[in-house]
């Protein structure tokens, strides 16, 4: 008997015997495809993380414009025209506003003081510029989501009183303050200017936005509070 004859006979094996091996071969192919998908996914995630890291390191993004309805009207681009202004969008902007070289890019944090409660809030929307040692300037504009769209991302103030004090971790007090608030489920704000760093909560559940201005710089802070009627006296 020759080897060719033996192989010819193997070629006549019945289909039920072959099926078992076919399944094993097919499973192996699927594993290879899955493995390739995992590799592609891992590469995408790595690329995304590198991009996010690079963005937070430089404090500059590449977005051309904010999504419709996301920016606060108080965030006018009021930095000097020859300053280099970057743009940051998305959820990493809170970190990015605090992570660069100390003294150069520090958007102040707002502390809400309400009775014995206090709540610290980083800014979600800001236009912040600063001077460099060589006399030139640099700035960053960050645009977060439209406050009523922030949902669970909003810090929550548990009020003990209707009166809220506004305190920033910055020696210079803001030159102008604006308050906007949205009733639950509403997208139309009620706006008022504040003459002092204090305001009264409104009865019921509201989303609040405080916008503070310092000369060329502007920062907004959002939070949610559900104030019971008795506090309003």
């Amino acid at each position: 008997m020759t080897v060719d004859q033996l192989l010819d006979a193997i070629g006549l094996l019945p289909p039920d015997l072959l099926a078992e091996t076919e399944r094993a071969r097919a499973q192996k192919s699927r594993k290879v495809i899955h493995f390739r998908r995992y590799i592609a996914l891992a590469a995408s995630v790595a690329l995304f993380l590198w991009g996010a890291w690079f963005l937070s390191l430089t404090g500059q993004g590449s977005s051309k414009e904010a999504a419709a309805g996301t920016s606060s009207p108080a965030l006018a681009d009021n930095a000097p025209a020859d300053w280099d202004m970057g743009v940051v969008t998305g959820s990493s902007l809170r970190e990015s506003s605090r992570s660069t070289t100390p003294g150069s890019f520090q958007v102040p944090i707002l502390e809400l003081q309400c009775g014995t409660q206090s709540l610290q809030i980083p800014s979600d929307n800001y236009t912040w510029s600063w001077s460099l040692e060589d006399g030139t300037g640099q700035g960053v504009t960050a645009t977060g989501p439209y406050p009523p769209d922030m949902g669970e991302d909003l810090p929550v103030l548990a009020p003990e009183d209707a009166a809220v004090q506004l305190v920033w971790d910055l020696e210079t007090p803001p030159t102008a303050l604006t308050l906007r608030r949205w009733a639950a489920g509403s997208r139309e704000p009620i706006q008022e200017a504040l003459s002092a760093p204090t305001f009264q909560l409104t009865s019921g559940e509201w989303v609040y936005e405080i916008t503070a201005c310092w000369d060329h710089n502007t920062a907004s802070y959002c939070f949610r509070a559900d104030c019971p009627e008795p506090f309003l006296g």
Binding site: M1, T2, V3, D4, Q5, L6, L7, D8, A9, I10, G11, L12, L13, P14, P15, L17, L18, A19, E20, T21, E22, A24, R25, Q27, K28
Partner: protein, 186 residues
């Protein structure tokens, strides 16, 4: 498309049967042909011949498992092609390597093809394989029917290459003993 629908197309002599077969099984068949021929052009030709052979043989045949039926055609056509090629090309393919391995099971003597009853031999090998462990059966069929490389066999059997090689060696020796016991003149 389901296999049964493709077979129906063959039976109704609809040429879409070939395009549907090609869409579903082209890669699968090309792999089998390439395992034997180790040449892209010859493999392509062999797979095209498979479609023609399927067209000519369905009907009268109505395969219950179309993939296996087509694989069998491709294997036969590719082996015929391999044998008609010049021997210098032999060393490259998995088929050539499997020939060397299976030489352990036979004498390679003067027995003529006419004397060997292929059907009886196939049935005996089938019975032998059913007596083996699923692992050994899968490895043997993968290596000597589909002519997959040792590395591929090891991968889908979930073992190292050296273990797969050793398993195949033991199975070949067992097959030789079994065939001798069954009265085959090796």
């Amino acid at each position: 498309m389901e296999d049964s629908q493709i077979v129906d197309l063959y039976w109704s002599r609809d040429e879409a049967a070939i395009s549907e077969t090609q869409e579903k099984y082209d890669r699968y068949l090309t792999k089998i042909a390439y395992n034997i021929l180790a040449n892209s052009e010859d493999s392509r030709e062999s797979v095209n011949d498979t479609y023609l052979a399927a067209w000519n043989s369905i009907p009268p045949n109505r395969p219950s498992v179309l993939s296996t039926y087509l694989a069998k055609l491709t294997r036969r056509i590719s082996i015929d092609c391999f044998r008609s090629r010049n021997r210098a090309k032999r060393s490259a393919s998995q088929y050539a390597l499997s020939l060397d391995e299976l030489a352990e099971c036979v004498s390679g003597g003067n027995t003529t093809e006419e004397i060997v009853n292929h059907r009886l031999l196939a049935d005996t090998i089938g019975i032998f394989l059913r007596l083996q462990s699923p692992e050994a059966r899968t490895a043997f069929i993968g290596r000597y029917y589909y002519l997959d490389s040792l590395k591929e066999v090891a991968a889908y059997c979930g073992m190292s290459e050296s273990k797969a090689k050793s398993l195949l060696h033991r199975t070949r020796l067992s097959l030789k003993e079994y065939l001798l016991k069954e009265g085959f003149d090796l």
